[in-house]
Structures are given as structure tokens and as C-alpha cells.
Amino acid sequence: MSGDSQRGAERRARLALYVVHGLLAAFFLLPLVFMFVSAFKTDEAQLLRDMNSLAAFAPVGQLGWGNFAEVMHNTPFVRAFANSLLVVGVTVTLGILVNSMLAYALARLRFAGRNLLLAVVIALIIVPFEAIAVPLLLLVNELPWFGAQRGWLDSYHVQVIPFIGHAFSVYLFYQFFIALPKDLEEAALMDGASRWRIYWSIVMPLSKPVIATVAVLQFLARWGDLLWPVMVVRGDTFATLPLAMQTFFGQFPRQWGQVMAFAAMATLPTLAVFLVFQRWFVKSAISSAIKG
């Protein structure tokens, strides 16, 4: 085989690869493009007519911010967005704190029952939320809260507190901690530092990769959850984005332009977060495989 024809074959192979990539990229991108483009189409009839051709993916015809303005002013979008930010933000932050604390105790401290506790945590990873959702509903319905009222339904804390403790996060932290070299911690212990200080000032700053992993995995899971809000939230006051999306989507007469504007505004922030922190998303997917 001469060098020229080999180079030609390589070029053809590369071209074929690009064609395949191009088709796949179209498959994954076009639904998103369709959403964003449709959100700007203020003429509902035109939006539906455009679906018959490639115009579905092109910003053509009557375009404007009208759908967005409608969604901002006449739907609970802003409220739902803030609710999602609050609920997910608090859950992820507190989760990182308490789960890493438990993992630190399991990885570094000696106490009676440690092995049992570790075994229980690992066993709990397998319990899917779906299997406990109904009894959990019953439970939170009976729990007390400040102000003497009973039952947690329709609140922020009912969407936060049950999800802070997370067995798989504990396991990820544990795996990371046992792999950390002990020297620094032992030196600090010699100098009389408290365990809390070691955890907070030495271990956690070294644990940024696993913190990011846990944060991304929990963020994706909590941000998209619909099952629990459907069960515990009534009305718009405490509804997060997926629930608000469902409510708005189910309303008639349905204005598709506005539905797509709602969807686009709900998506844009998560997409932006993904594009900025892409590296951590990749890492989190990879470390989720340790679970196996």
C-alpha cells in the first residue's frame, strides 16, 4: 500500500466519522433547538404550521419575546424557579456537610458499631426512593413542626429534610477519604488540633473533587424530581419547576409558544451550569460507576 492511498483512506474514514457525528449531533441538538426557536414564535398558528418543514428549527416568521413575557407575568414560573433553587440548594449543601461528616467518622475514627454502620450504609444504597415514597408520605404527614402544626405537607422542609441524608453520597465520600494520605491529619493531631478542625480545615479542602461529584449527582436528581412534589405539594406556593411545568403543560387552552418559553427558561440555567462545570459532570458520571 503506498503512502498516498493510505492517507486517502484515512481521510475518507475521518470524513465518514464526521458525517456520523453530524447526524448524531442533529439528533441530540434539534429537539433543544426546536424548543428555543418555538419559544420565540409569537404566532401560534405559524408555530404549528412550521412543524411541517425545517422551519420548525429556524427562527423565521413572527418572532418576539411575547411568550416569555406572558410566562413571566401570568404563570408561577419565577416563584417555581426560586423554589427549585432554594430546595435544591439547601438539600445539596446540607447533604454535602452531613454525609461527609458521617463518611469521615467511618473512614478515620474508631468507635463501637463502626463496621455495622458502614455495612448498613452500603446496604441502603440499593433502596430506591420509589420503594419508600408512600410510607414516607404517611410519616411526614404525622411529623411535628414548629408552631404546633402537625404534618409537613405543602412546605419547603418536606422537600428538603428527607433528602439530606444520602447513602450513596456517604459511600462516595468514604471511598475518597480512605484513599487520602493520613500524614497531614496525623501531624495536625500531634499539634493538638481537634477532629472537627482536621475535618473542616484539612480533609474538606482536599476533597473538592468528590464534593463536586456529589453536588452534581444530587443536583441532577433533586432538580428533576417530580414524584415527591406530586405527592406532597398542593398549589403553586411551594411547587418546584418540574411540578410547575406539569401544571402549566396540563392547562387548556394550551399555547405551545408559551409552553416552550416556560420549558426554555427552565432549561437554560441547567444547561449553562453544565457547560460551565462540564469537567465535574464528566467526573461524576465516572465515579458513579464505582458503585458497581
Binding site: M35, V98, V127, A131, I178, A289
Partner: protein, 321 residues
């Protein structure tokens, strides 16, 4: 797991006196302060409801309990009723059909994508980002976008299907046709989820030593032979992991079908109702907690069985290696 067994066996093997001398002061109180918050939360919101599910599944508990009626133990009645309930079998069948198609298809697709983005090609990173973007899109939103694309007559999907089939396949009402709605859900689920498994496979691919391929190339192996005899066997554990997790995700199917069901323009719910949807409907909609608890327990047993199969497969692999 193995490290856990090692620590416990070594502790048991050493005489207790030396162990105590090795650690002059235990970390008991401090340790429990560290462990307490998460342990308490897991205990109250995971272990307790789990035990409640088991206990409640043997009672006739209702969500709005009529105090005068009370709650009684009814033995296996909830389970017996469940097994006689057509809705249960239909939901289970829907889940199994979904799993049987989505788990292998999505895993194979993910492997294909991983191999493609793993090629030394300018722009590979860009394509990897694009393939992952749907994962960063909320499932409720994904279901809404596809609902419009599935529109009957002049919908995007219908136009596309007509185009690639040269007009042989007539426009369908994807979400309202009981024979099609589940398959329509499969497509949007794969679209949303496959990017995640692609990354898992990609990690597996990048862990394969490059020398293996170089040696094979020297021996004159074609790219397909390299894939068949190096990539596939080296990815066995990753593949088992991806297949099993995809299967478990598929059994948890809820959000997309719930959105479509609540659209008001979907097929009769029996044609795509899943086990989790039925559970919410029974326990929450109809308030039959005992019934829903039995369903939860069966669901857990199902997931547990799948995970045990995974353990078994992986152990076998280790024994062979």
C-alpha cells in the same frame, strides 16, 4: 466490601488486649457527633419508611384514616389482591417491555457514542458535550418538548418518519395511540439518558491500556477485530454496570409518563402506566396505603433481585480473571 471484611477479620483475629493498647483513647463521643446527623436522617427518612412499607403492606391502612374503623392486620391480602389486579399486571408488563427494549438499546447506543467520541478527532470534545446536553435537561421539560414534536399529522416526528420511509409510514398520533405511546416514551427516554452512560463507557475505554491496541495493530488486526477482541472483553464489567443501572432506572420510570399522562391528550393510561405510577395512584390518589405498600415492597424486591444478579455476574468475572 472487601476492605470492610478485611478490617473486621483482622480486628477479630488480634487479641483484644493488644487492640486496646494500640488505641489508648477511642474516638467514641467525637465519632458519634460526626456520624449522628446523617445517621439520624437516614434512620428516620430511609430505614423507618422502609420498615413501615413492610409492616403496612400487611395492613388495611388508608391515607385518610377513618378513626372509628381503625387499621387491622390483614395478612397477605394486599399481596393476593395485587396479584389478582389486572392494573398491576399491565403496569408490570409495561415496565418489562420498556426495560427489555430500552436497557440493551440504550447501552449499545451509549457504547457506540463512547467509541465515537473516543476517536482522536478534532471536535470530539464538542460532540461529547452535545451528546450529554439532554442529560442536563430536566426530564419534565424533555417530555414536554417531545410531546409537541410527536404532534399528530404535521408534527416534527411524523414529518421525519415520513421522510426517511419515503412516505411509506403514514402520520401517527404517537401519544394517543395505545399501541405506540410506550415506544414514543422509549425514544425520548433514550434521547435524554444515553449521554450519561456514554460517559461511563468512555471512562471504561480510557482505562484500557493503549499497548493492547498497539500490539494488535502490529499483528495486523483490523479495527473491528480490535473492537471485538480487546474493547468488548475489557469493557465487560462496565457493560454489566451500565446494563444493570439502566435496567433499574427503567423500572423507576415515572416523570416522563406522568407528564404525558397529565397532558390531557394522551392514550388511555393503561397503555403506558408504570409500576411507580400505579403506586402513586393507589397510595396517594386512592389512599389505599396498605395496597401501595405491598406494591412498594414488590418493587424493592425486583430492584434487589436485579442488583444481586449484577453482584453475581461481577463476581463470576473476578473468579474467571
Amino acid at each position: 466490601m472487601s476492605s470492610l471484611q478485611m478490617t473486621s477479620s483482622s480486628a477479630a483475629g488480634a487479641p483484644p488486649a493488644t487492640v486496646r493498647r494500640q488505641r489508648p483513647r477511642g474516638d467514641g463521643a467525637t465519632a458519634w457527633l460526626f456520624a449522628a446527623p446523617a445517621t439520624a436522617l437516614l434512620g428516620i427518612f430511609l430505614v423507618l419508611p422502609f420498615l413501615m412499607a413492610v409492616v403496612l403492606s400487611f395492613t388495611n391502612k388508608r391515607l385518610i384514616s377513618a378513626e372509628e374503623l381503625g387499621t387491622d392486620f390483614v395478612g397477605w391480602r394486599n399481596y393476593a389482591r395485587l396479584l389478582q389486579d389486572d392494573a398491576f399486571w399491565v403496569a408490570l408488563k409495561n415496565n418489562f417491555v420498556f426495560v427489555a427494549i430500552v436497557a440493551p438499546l440504550q447501552s449499545a447506543f451509549a457504547l457506540l457514542l463512547a467509541v465515537l467520541v473516543n476517536q482522536p478527532l478534532a471536535g470530539s470534545r464538542f460532540f461529547r458535550t452535545v451528546y450529554f446536553m439532554p442529560v442536563a435537561t430536566t426530564m419534565a421539560v424533555v417530555a414536554v418538548i417531545w410531546s409537541l414534536m410527536y404532534a399528530p399529522d404535521g408534527g416534527v416526528v411524523n414529518r421525519f418518519v415520513g421522510f426517511v420511509s419515503f412516505g411509506l409510514i403514514a402520520p401517527q398520533d404517537w401519544l394517543r395511540d395505545p399501541a405506540l405511546v410506550l415506544y414514543a416514551v422509549m425514544v425520548l427516554s433514550i434521547w435524554q439518558g444515553v449521554g450519561f452512560q456514554m460517559l461511563v463507557f468512555l471512562a471504561g475505554l480510557q482505562a484500557i491500556p493503549v499497548d493492547l491496541y498497539e500490539a494488535a495493530k502490529l499483528d495486523g488486526a483490523t479495527p473491528w477485530q480490535q473492537f471485538r477482541h480487546i474493547t468488548v472483553p475489557m469493557l465487560k464489567n462496565t457493560t454489566i454496570f451500565v446494563l444493570i443501572t439502566t435496567t433499574i432506572y427503567a423500572f423507576q420510570l415515572y416523570t416522563q409518563v406522568q407528564i404525558i399522562a397529565s397532558s390531557g391528550t394522551a392514550a388511555p393510561v393503561d397503555s403506558f402506566r408504570t409500576v411507580v405510577m400505579l403506586m402513586v395512584h393507589e397510595g396517594f390518589g386512592s389512599g389505599k396505603i396498605g395496597h401501595a405498600a405491598a406494591l412498594s415492597v414488590l418493587f424493592f424486591v425486583l430492584v434487589l433481585a436485579i442488583s444481586l444478579i449484577q453482584r453475581l455476574l461481577l463476581k463470576e468475572e473476578r473468579a474467571v480473571a
